[in-house]
C-alpha cells in the first residue's frame, strides 16, 4: 500500500493533525463551516505539496463532523447542519447527566463510520459511482419523501403539530426565487430573500437561541446541567456500546450510500439514519429523551457521508456537496484535472489521501475521547456566562456565512419562533426536516415530471424510486397501525 508510505511521512502526518484539529474547531463553531474554512486556507495551500494540502483539507472536512456533535450535545446548538439530528438525543443525554457518554459514543460512532466510509471509498469507488449516475430526479424525490416520512417517527405527542411544523418548514424552504420559472415566491419584496433562507439561520435560531430563551424562564442561577463526577460517568459504558451495535452499522452504511449521491448531503443522511434506528429499535418511545443509539446513528451517518461524497468527486469530478465543490476547486487551482481519469493518473495522491483518512479518523478518536471530560467541563460554566457566549457565537457564526445584517434579524426572529414552539409544544425536528428537504423535494418532483413529460408513473416505474416510495408510504401508515392496535387492545379489555 504505497498510500501509507505517503501518509505516514511526518510532514503529512503533521498536516493531517492540523487539518483534523482545525476541522474539529470549525465544526464546533456554528455557522463557520468546512467550505468557508477551506476557501480561506487556499492561499496557504500553494506553499505546500498538493498531497499534503489535500490531506489537510480533507482532515478539515471530516474533522468538522466530529466537532459539530460537541455543541449539539452540550448546548443543543448544532455546529453544522449535519449535527442537528444529534441534538435530539444528545442534548437530552446531557441533561440527564450523561454528556460524557454521549460525546464518547459520538466520537466512537464517527470513527467507525468514518473508517467504513474510507473503506468504501477504497474498495467500491468506481462501480458505485457508475451506479450513482443512475440515480436521478425520481429517485431523489423518493429519497426526500422517505426523509419527510420520518416525521411520523419524530412526532412525539401530537401528530398534528408535528405535521404543521413540517409544513411550516416546507414553506420556509420555498421562500425565494423558483428555479424553474424565476418567479419570486414569498419574498415580501425583499431582495435578501431572493435566494431563500439559509438553513443554518433557521437551525441556530430555533435550536440555540430558542433554547437560551426557554432556559431564561427559571430564576435559579444554578449551573445548567447536572455534572456527575467520576470517570465512570464520563465515558460510554459497555451497555451503551452494546445498545449502539446496530446504530454503528446503520449510520455507516446509510451515511456512506447517501453521501455517494451528488446533491444529497449529510443532513438528510443523519435524519434517515436516526429514523431508521428509531424504527427498528426495541425502545422507540424513548427516542428524543436521551438514548445512546439516537446519538450513534446520526453521528455515524454524517461521518460516513464524507467518505461517500468523495467518491463522485474523485471518480467523476462531480461535486456532491458544497465542501466537495470547494475541494474540487482546490484541485483545479493546484493544476489537477479532476474527472474520471483522476485516480488512474494520480495514484499517489489518491492512495495517500485514502491512507491519511484512516489515520485522520484515528487521530480524531484519540483527540476527542480524552477531551470528553474537558468538554463536559463546559457544562460547569455558570449559566449566565454560557448564554451570552452562545448568543455571541450564534451572531458571529451566522454573519460569517452571509455577511449581512438581514440574516441576523432573521436569526432573532427564528429564535423567538423556537421559543414559542417549545412553549406551545410544537416539535422542532419536523420543522428542520421540512426546511432541509422541502426545496430539494419540490425540485426533484418537478424535474421528474419534466423528464417524463408529465406522467407521474415515472416515479413508480423505476425500481429504486418505487421501492423508496413504498417504504415512505409504509412509514406513514405506522401511526395508523398503532391506532388500530390501541383500539383493538381497548376492545379486548372491555
Amino acid at each position: 500500500m504505497g498510500g501509507f508510505a505517503v501518509a505516514l511521512q511526518p510532514f503529512n502526518l503533521l498536516w493531517c493533525l492540523v487539518g483534523v484539529a482545525l476541522g474539529t474547531v470549525v465544526g464546533i463553531l456554528p455557522g463557520l463551516g468546512p467550505p468557508a474554512t477551506i476557501a480561506m486556507l487556499l492561499p496557504l495551500t500553494f506553499l505546500m505539496p498538493p498531497a499534503s494540502a489535500m490531506i489537510m483539507l480533507a482532515g478539515i472536512y471530516y474533522g468538522a463532523k466530529y466537532g459539530g456533535s460537541t455543541t449539539s450535545i452540550l448546548l443543543n446548538v448544532p455546529g453544522e447542519s449535519a449535527s442537528v439530528a444529534t441534538c435530539f438525543d444528545g442534548y437530552q443525554m446531557a441533561r440527564k447527566g450523561r454528556a460524557g457518554p454521549a460525546l464518547g459514543i459520538a466520537a466512537i460512532a464517527s470513527f467507525i463510520a468514518g473508517t467504513v466510509g474510507v473503506l468504501g471509498l477504497m474498495l467500491v469507488a468506481p462501480p458505485l459511482a457508475r451506479m450513482a449516475l443512475a440515480f436521478s430526479s425520481p429517485e431523489y424525490f423518493a429519497l426526500m419523501s422517505l426523509g419527510l416520512a420520518m416525521v411520523v417517527l419524530l412526532a412525539g405527542r401530537s401528530m398534528v403539530k408535528a405535521l404543521l411544523a413540517m409544513l411550516v418548514g416546507l414553506w420556509l424552504a420555498g421562500i425565494g426565487t423558483d428555479l424553474f420559472s424565476q418567479t419570486s415566491r414569498f419574498t415580501f419584496g425583499r431582495m435578501e430573500l431572493l435566494s431563500g433562507i439559509d438553513f443554518v439561520v433557521v437551525a441556530i435560531g430555533v435550536f440555540a437561541i430558542g433554547e437560551v430563551l426557554a432556559n431564561m424562564q427559571g430564576r435559579e442561577a444554578a449551573k445548567a446541567l447536572p455534572f456527575p463526577k467520576g470517570v465512570r460517568n464520563l465515558l460510554p459504558t459497555v451497555q451503551d456500546l452494546k445498545d449502539s451495535r446496530f446504530a454503528f452499522a446503520n449510520g455507516s452504511i446509510v451515511g456512506f450510500l447517501i453521501g455517494v449521491l451528488p446533491g444529497a448531503g449529510s443532513t438528510i443522511a443523519s435524519f434517515i439514519s436516526y429514523g431508521l434506528e428509531k424504527a427498528v429499535s426495541r425502545r422507540p418511545e424513548e427516542f428524543g429523551k436521551g438514548v445512546v443509539e439516537g446519538v450513534a446513528a446520526p453521528e455515524g451517518a454524517n461521518n460516513a457521508e464524507t467518505g461517500g461524497a468523495l467518491i463522485p468527486m474523485l471518480t467523476l469530478g462531480i461535486p456532491g456537496s458544497s465542501t466537495t465543490a470547494v475541494l474540487l476547486a482546490a484541485l483545479v487551482l493546484w493544476g489537477f484535472k479532476p474527472g474520471p481519469l483522476f485516480i488512474p493518473e494520480n495514484p499517489a495522491l489518491f492512495w495517500g489521501l485514502v491512507a491519511s483518512m484512516y489515520i485522520g479518523n484515528l487521530m480524531l478518536l484519540v483527540l476527542n475521547l480524552p477531551l470528553v471530560p474537558v468538554f463536559a467541563q463546559v457544562l460547569r460554566t455558570p449559566v449566565y456566562i454560557l448564554y451570552p457566549i452562545i448568543l455571541g457565537i450564534a451572531l458571529v457564526g451566522v454573519y460569517s456565512t452571509s455577511g449581512g445584517l438581514f440574516d441576523l434579524w432573521l436569526l432573532v426572529g427564528f429564535g423567538l419562533m423556537g421559543y414559542l414552539m417549545r412553549k406551545l409544544d410544537y416539535p422542532s425536528a419536523p420543522l428542520i426536516l421540512g426546511v432541509v428537504l422541502g426545496g430539494a423535494m419540490e425540485r426533484a418532483l418537478r424535474q421528474s415530471l419534466m423528464m417524463s413529460d408529465g406522467s407521474i408513473s415515472i416515479l413508480v416505474s423505476r425500481p429504486v424510486s418505487a421501492v423508496m416510495l413504498s417504504l415512505a408510504v409504509l412509514i406513514l401508515l405506522i401511526p395508523l397501525f398503532n391506532k388500530v392496535n390501541t383500539w383493538r387492545l381497548r376492545a379486548l379489555e372491555k
Binding site: 456566562i385 451570552p388 429564535g415
Partner: protein
Amino acid sequence: MRALSADFWSGLALGGLGAYIIVRASSWEYLGPDGPGPGFFPLWYGIAMAALSLGLMFSSLRKQDPDQIDWSGAGRAFATWFALLACVALLNVAGFLLCLAGLTFFIIAVMYRRPLKVAASAAIALAGAFYLIFPFALGVRLP
C-alpha cells in the same frame, strides 16, 4: 365562555398562514407547459396547513381540560429576547463588541441578579475574548 387554550390560538395563527399561502400560490402558475409551476407545491402545502390548523382548533375546543401553558417565566424570556433584538438593532451604531458586552451585562445583571461588578467585568472579558478569537486569530469578520 371557556377560555380558549393556547392550541386554539396557535392553530388560528397557522391557519392564517395557510390561508395566506393559498392566496399567494393561486396567483402563480399552477401547471406550466413543462410541468408543475411555481404555484403547485405551495398551494398543496398551504391547503394541508389550513386543514390541519382547523383540525387543531377543533380538537382544542373539544378537549375537556386543555393543557394550560405556564406563562409565568415567559416575561423573562421575552425580556431577554428584546435585549437580543436591541443588540442586533444597535449593531450598525455601536458595533458588535459593544453590543455583545451590553447583552452580556444585561443577562448577568438583570436576569440573574448578580452583582453589577461581576456583570461588568464578565461583559468586558467576553467582548475581549471574542475580539481575540474571531477577527484576530481566525480572521472572521464581526458584524
